[in-house]
């Protein structure tokens, strides 16, 4: 029997795995012929969180629950997981592109002396080796990459891989290995929470509404927020809007901001500079509204409206309200 594919759990820091894990587990199960397992390092795992992992396809859950594991610190996590890897020899270790995992899985790969591929958008077996596809050069090219030896370690871009249909009522098989959690040098001094917008988090949102310099000022983002609230979208921005101080940097989409891959991206008053496209061109569906018919964003848009966003946004909001019965 070939060894399992492991999925490192990304959680909401309150005991529940994030929904991106349904995508990672489904991909692991598909590639391994149903041998997907979860590895969860946390200070707190809720029973329904564990159940969710099983329903999403984790045949087994390696659970390490310890107060020293939160907040995440790479220097503390890496030796813990490396110890488990040495004992269990998984064939692959997959995670999601999140603030913790982008660092952690790279770090783990260095500890194990194996290859690491970040921000993968496609995975396929080629004989008995894994080949990953990932965007490079600001998304202008795709690279197919392969590992010299297992475990194959990678982070997967959220919203790209198809999640499994959950199998309701599946009982989690939990293993609690005995491990030593080292102390670590980093000490958390302070956590500054953002004021919640009530809208989804940008990097995992399925729908994203985004505004650029065409918005003309910070006050006008209100009309995008209204539209976003109707359809349940996150609100992002171009660098021009961020550099002007209209939106905080964490909302920036693009090469020097976040990379997103939503089901639907709606861009308003954004020209479509190459650095912006780098952060959103793998969106499944792209809609652009711009008053300039020559704006480059129309080249990659599936649907476009040439017009004044200050007229189009309210009209669209009304239409969405009608459609969704709000």
């Amino acid at each position: 029997m070939p060894n399992a594919f492991w999925c490192v759990v990304e959680d909401d820091r309150a005991g529940h795995p994030k929904k991106v894990m349904a995508e990672v587990l489904a991909e692991a199960a598909r590639l391994s012929g149903g041998r997907a397992e979860a590895v969860w390092l946390t200070d707190r795992a809720e029973p329904d969180g564990l159940r969710r992992l099983a329903e999403w396809g984790a045949g087994k859950i390696w659970l390490v629950e310890h107060p020293g594991l939160a907040p995440y610190r790479g220097e503390v996590w890496a030796p813990v997981v490396a110890g488990l890897v040495a004992a269990q020899a998984p064939r692959a270790i997959l995670g999601a592109v999140t603030s913790r995992q982008r660092e952690f899985l790279a770090r783990l790969a260095a500890r194990l002396g194996v290859g690491f591929a970040a921000d993968v958008v496609g995975l396929a077996m080629d004989g008995d080796r894994l080949v990953a596809t990932r965007p490079v050069y600001a998304g202008k090219l795709l690279a197919r990459v392969a590992w010299a030896r297992p475990p194959w370690i990678a982070t997967l871009r959220p919203n790209v891989f198809k999640p499994a249909d959950p199998v309701a009522g599946r009982e989690p098989q939990i293993e609690r290995p005995t491990v030593t959690v080292p102390d670590g040098a980093l000490r958390l001094a302070e956590r500054r929470e953002e004021v919640s917008t009530g809208l989804p988090e940008l990097s995992e949102a399925e729908l994203v509404v985004s505004g650029g310099r065409g918005l003309k000022g910070p006050e006008n983002f209100v009309i995008l927020e209204r539209l976003a609230a109707v359809i349940g979208a996150a609100v992002g921005a171009s660098r021009a809007a961020v550099d002007a101080g209209w939106r905080p940097h964490r909302f920036q989409i693009g090469q020097t901001g976040r990379t997103i891959s939503p089901k639907l991206y709606l861009g308003f008053g954004i020209s479509g500079a190459i650095q912006h496209l780098a952060g959103m061109r793998t969106s499944k569906l792209i809609v652009a509204v711009n008053k300039d018919p020559e704006a480059p964003i129309f080249k990659i848009a599936d649907y476009g409206i040439v017009g004044d966003l200050f007229e189009v946004v309210p009209a669209l909001t009304e239409e969405f309200k009608k459609l969704l019965g709000k």
Partner: protein, 259 residues
Amino acid sequence: MKILVPVKQVPDTATQVKVGQDARQIETGGITWIISPYDEFAVEEALRIKEKRGEGEVVVVSLGPDRVKEALRSALAMGADRAIHVNDPAFNEADTLLTARVLAAVIKQEAPALVIVGRQAIDDDMGAVPAQLAELLGWPSLYWVMEAAIDAGGRTIRAGRQVEGGLEVFEAPLPCVLTAQKGLNEPRYPTLKGIMGAKKKEIKDLRADDLGVAPESAQLSIVRLETLPPRPPGRIIGGDVREAAHELVRALREEAKAI
């Protein structure tokens, strides 16, 4: 206090990149090369820390062929004190792990108190080297740092990393690895004086032998580079604003099933 900043030279995002002959590398003719933008934030932060303390040294390091001297010169023109160029064809196909091994060897020789790295290089977009470097050195690391301050004694750092939903501020004893996120600072432009001065600053050349790093084969390699599959042509929806909005919403629901 000595601060070391690894900088990578990458194609300017505005230039076109084409798949090269062997399909594993890009065609390098006609490319404008720049310092990876996040590495400029890293250099800037190192310079600010030095200026604030009124003492210290900023050393920039790059691994790559002859052309990367230009990137090192730009960093020296910004104000870095000296540069190290690891130039050895044995590392031509280095992946992030081998790159981290090389940089870790330089760091062991230089023994800086702090290493500031870019969040990711905008050619391979991996964001892996800093974490791997920290792991090989056995140092703590903080990713996507938005603010950083060193205590007066130069022994500990307080730095905030960007995470989903907020900022986590950590304290750590030095040495430590930080990755610079946009928002950390605004990089300066080199002054004319800086550019002139950079010509006199030292760029030391190192090879694999000098570092004692065996040029092993990469753990992750590129099988093939490809251009993006073309997106199906889009549709511009005409008519007055109300009609267009109505048609767009209909198409999103009925054709694209996105809503």
